[in-house]
């Protein structure tokens, strides 16, 4: 268990625009290993939702199976959660989203759950540009079954037992960009300064927002020789651009030097400000994004931050032209054509 949390809070704890304290966004006590990267990601989700002043009950949390998929219990206790079957969260999330387009969908998965058993569903949710924030807590190994390599383990990475992975690792950001995600980012569980604004931007994005969060497994994959350990990730992180998230109503007041910042306006009017070291880089360029991922990999760097962002993509509802009113709010009078229409159908079949 990670920590014990006191129930008493300072009476003057900071409150958000809805008047809630951060505690309102917490969940049950974590049962993951002490020091697990996933708990930091849960903390970042709590902080992001708190800062965005989201009504927790308007969020649906969905996950598959594995250590990462357990985490939805540990945040947003007032949200409905769905711990589905291994690798199948994307389809359940697709159905849930079709039923009620007005909720915020947060999908939590792991590298086994997404890159192996769930690869089929993951890629198809991507190509439908499902409106969801999909976070993979990526530690390169199967924690719950004691540390087997996963499909995202890098070639040459050594696990705790000394086994060196001979297979090519799957880069989920590359897959996401290739197959139609409209928001693709990578971060590190140990870098909340980067992760929190990324989650806020992802939650505000309409369409498939994918964040690959390197989240080390302290028990099975934090050893020397592993490329998913805390030390290795810290030493090899390369940032595309520093990320600021500016909510809808705020004006962009900070002054940025010419060519230094790139402002992307999201569907809901909020802004993502990317302060970038490379003035030529454009986050909306899909081909450039793929190229940068490949170059970073070649250099042994872990590219983090927003990798690709297309704010104007059509989501699944737009593609299907579904009713603006959520389908789950429609009643008999909206749905049932009645006996007269049925009589006409009978007549057509005589």
């Amino acid at each position: 268990m990670t920590y014990l949390r006191p129930d008493i809070r300072h009476p003057e704890s900071q409150r958000n625009a809805l008047g809630y304290t951060r505690k309102y966004y917490e969940g049950a006590l974590s049962t993951l290993c002490a020091g697990c990267g996933h708990d930091s990601v849960s903390g970042a989700i709590i902080q992001a939702c708190f800062e965005l002043a989201i009504e927790p009950h308007r969020v649906a949390k969905l996950s598959g199976i594995g250590c990462s998929s357990k985490t939805p219990t540990y945040f947003l206790g007032n949200s409905h959660g769905f711990n589905s079957v291994h690798g199948r969260m994307p389809s359940v999330a697709t159905g849930a989203n079709l039923a009620n387009r007005d909720l915020i969908y947060l999908g939590i998965s792991g590298d086994g759950d997404t890159a192996s058993i769930g690869m089929g569903q993951f890629v198809h949710a991507l190509r439908r540009n499902l409106n969801i924030t999909y976070i993979v807590m990526n530690n390169g190994c199967y924690g719950l079954t004691k540390g087997q390599d996963s499909a995202t383990a890098d070639e040459g990475s050594k696990n705790k037992t000394g086994h060196v992975n001979p297979f090519h690792g799957i880069d989920l950001c590359g897959v996401a960009i290739e197959l139609g995600a409209t928001f693709v980012a990578r971060s590190f569980s140990g870098d909340k300064g980067q992760l929190i604004p990324l989650i806020k931007a992802a939650l505000s994005h309409q369409g498939f927002a994918f964040i690959d969060v390197l989240s080390p497994c302290v028990t099975f994959n934090n050893n020397p020789g592993s490329t998913k350990s805390y030390d290795y990730v810290r030493e090899h992180m390369e940032v595309t651009a520093a990320v600021d998230y500016i909510p809808e109503k705020a004006e962009i007041t900070a002054a940025y030097a010419e060519g230094e910042a790139c402002v992307v306006t999201l569907h809901d009017g909020s802004h993502v400000v990317l302060r970038k070291p490379d003035p030529a880089w454009q986050p909306t360029d899909r081909i450039a994004a793929m190229k940068r991922l490949h170059e970073a990999r070649q250099k042994g760097e872990i590219l983090t931050g927003v990798v690709y962002l297309e704010p104007a993509g059509r989501d699944l509802h737009a593609m299907l032209n579904t009713s603006r009113r959520p389908l789950n709010s429609l009643r008999e009078s909206d749905l049932c054509p009645g006996s007269a229409a049925l009589e006409r159908i009978n007549a057509e079949n005589r």
Binding site: H57, A60, G81, G120, I345
Partner: protein, 619 residues
């Protein structure tokens, strides 16, 4: 051959993909419009173009709608299958062929009649484009049949007008082709044949519809808004029809917005995942599939059973196992569907016998699934789903309200102090559920496929697990009372022996009961309509000494289910089976039951219907 007015079987042997389907349908529909009961069956290959395909039509004014073996007239226009087609005609029957080229002498039989119509020559003379000649060749033989079988040409031509209402210029050429065949037959043969159609008034207000279309309409009327599926024969036309009618009936005329969503999923696993996600979130959703899809859906069926999420599945069964016979019919998913998934699971099944019941049961399945908070599977089959059946008109009560089951809204949540997702408040095993987004602080819970306590908290406490499993069993007992009761064919049991049947076996079973009575075997009969079995099913079996269970699979799966669930002795239940992929016939049922009545079996003799009329094909 004796006079066969309104009582014969005609089979069309065509090449797949040559436009024969619409011509053959025209024939069946013409008989229907003349007020005579008709049963068309499409016997098609797993192929898009080139392989042999057959269309078999039984005309029977007494209203027997099951398949009957024995072909009285064969329209043979496929050289590939012709040797077998000639062999399949009953002695004294007719073989109608394209006499544009002479018939190979090896295809001559002494005991049948040959009717040659120079179909392609007539077409070449009157139509220029070769593709048109090929297509209209089919209409030429329909024209010939109109003369030979005494169909009413006005009826046939009117159907052509309706068929091509959007392509008017095709009407004239089709009418001409009909006339060419008609005149040639009139001039060269004695028309009509002893085998013919006479107008009757035996249809009433019935309609012709496929079970798949009826299921789709049931889903629309039942309030389904999300359909998720993966294409698979023979279920594909369920979602095709859902889309067609939903576009018509559920699209906002002003905005074009759709009050439904269809997802063609990446596989059947995902299809059921979408359904479960949508129903968890308060929409009505369904999937349509066949046996191979149910195999894949086992994982999600277990989740939905254990996490108690409603779902509606339509299983249009085909020949198994594995890929099996994808274009042939069977009732062989019974045990798979009843107990799908690992661990202790069972699922309510509904067994429609007609398209009308497909409509009603699909609509009812949504009420049942939501009331019971569990997946409900409508067990159709290829014969029911893909063939047109004569069936009572579809009816809908405009006063009907959907039963959304025990769902708590925000107001209800405010008034409840102690809510637990899996608490059995009412003693029927059915707990109260909440839909995401209902209330800011009440009613949220974690849905999971792992063990949990009454408050949906994860637990590995064996006692809490057992309590939950026992409550699910209590819910199963509730389901027994809620699902469709069986249909009894007599007001009171009268005979020591009985027959049980379900689904599409009903057509042949009803006919078999009459035939058995004619040779002195009287049976009571019950048509099963749902699983779990009601008390009435148990009582009926108890009231009889011997019960024949008619079904279309090798392993007598329904018989096993009756034995397992009701504790019936195996000796008491006698299997009556047909599993060659063709719809079961009355003759098959009669011959198997007659074995238990040697004296009556003597009377049976040779009825001339060879049960094993199979279509072999080169592959």
């Amino acid at each position: 051959m004796s006079n066969l007015v309104n009582d014969f079987v005609i089979r069309f042997a065509n090449v797949n993909g040559t436009g024969s389907a619409s011509a053959n349908t025209l024939f069946a529909k013409s008989v229907f419009r003349m007020g005579v009961p008709v049963t068309p069956k499409n016997i098609f290959p797993s192929n898009i173009q080139g392989l042999p395909t057959w269309y078999e039509v039984r005309v029977n004014e007494r209203g027997y709608l099951g398949r009957r073996a024995g072909i009285d007239l064969l329209v043979g226009v496929n050289p590939q299958s012709m040797p077998n087609d000639v062999r399949s005609v009953r002695p004294g029957g007719y073989f109608l062929y394209d006499s544009s080229r002479p018939l190979d002498p090896s295809l001559r039989r002494d005991d049948i009649h040959y009717i040659g119509i120079p179909m392609i020559l007539l077409c070449q003379k009157h139509f220029e484009v070769p593709r048109v000649q090929q297509l209209l060749k089919n209409m030429v033989y329909i024209g010939a049949l109109t003369a030979l079988l005494d169909l009413e040409m006005d009826v046939v031509k009117q159907l052509v007008v309706e068929q091509f209402k959007s392509k008017e210029k095709l009407v004239a050429s089709n009418h001409l082709a009909l006339d060419l065949g008609f005149q040639y037959a009139r001039e060269h043969y004695d028309c009509p044949l002893p085998l013919r159609v006479e107008r009757r008034n035996s249809i009433g207000n019935r309609i012709m519809m496929t079970g798949n279309t009826a299921c789709a309409l049931g889903a629309i009327y039942g309030g389904a808004t999300v359909a998720a599926w993966y294409p698979i024969t023979p279920s594909t036309s369920v979602v095709d029809a859902f889309e067609k009618y939903a576009n018509r009936l559920r699209t906002d005329p002003e905005t074009g917005e759709k009050k439904f969503a269809i997802v063609q999923a990446e596989d059947e696993l995902a299809a059921l995942g979408v359904v479960i996600g949508a129903m968890w979130n308060g929409a009505r959703a369904f999937t349509a599939t066949s046996g191979p899809g149910i195999s894949l859906m086992n994982e999600f069926l277990g989740l939905a059973y254990f996490a108690e999420i409603p779902a509606v599945l339509i299983d249009v069964q085909r020949g198994g196992p594995s890929t099996g016979m994808p274009t042939r019919t069977q009732q062989s998913d019974i045990l798979l569907a009843a107990y799908a998934s690992h661990g202790d699971t069972k699922h309510p099944l509904l067994f429609p016998s007609t398209p009308t019941e497909c409509f009603e049961m699909t609509a009812d399945a949504f009420d049942l699934a939501e009331r019971l908070q569990t997946p409900v599977i409508v067990m159709s089959d290829l014969d029911l789903g893909m063939n047109e059946h004569l069936t009572p008109p579809l009816r809908w009560d405009d006063q009907r309200q959907y039963d959304r089951g025990k769902v708590l809204d925000a107001k209800a949540l405010e008034s409840i102090q102690n809510w637990g997702r899996y608490l059995d408040i009412d003693g029927d095993g059915i707990p109260y559920r909440t839909i995401p987004g209902t209330h800011p602080t009440k009613g949220s819970f974690f849905t999971r496929g792992s063990s949990k306590d009454e408050y949906a908290r994860y637990t590995e406490d064996g006692e809490a697990y057992r309590r939950n499993m026992d409550r699910l069993l209590k819910k199963w007992q509730t389901a027994r009372k809620l699902v469709h009761a069986p249909e009894f064919l007599q007001p009171e049991p009268r005979h020591p022996e009985a027959m049980i049947f379900f689904g599409t076996s009903a057509y042949a079973a009803m006919e078999a009961l009459d035939e058995l009575r004619a040779i002195g075997i009287d049976l009571d009969a019950m048509r099963l309509r749902a699983f779990p079995f009601n008390q009435a099913v148990h009582d009926f079996i108890e009231q009889h000494e011997r019960v024949f269970v008619v079904e279309q699979n090798r392993d007598a799966q329904m018989r096993s289910l009756l034995m397992i669930e009701l504790g019936i002795s195996p000796q008491k239940l006698v299997p009556v089976l047909q599993y060659d992929g063709f719809p079961i016939t009355a003759a098959a049922i009669v011959s198997q039951i007659a074995r238990y009545h040697p004296a009556a079996a003597e009377l049976l003799g040779g009825n001339g219907y060879s049960h094993a009329v199979t279509v072999s094909q080169k592959s």
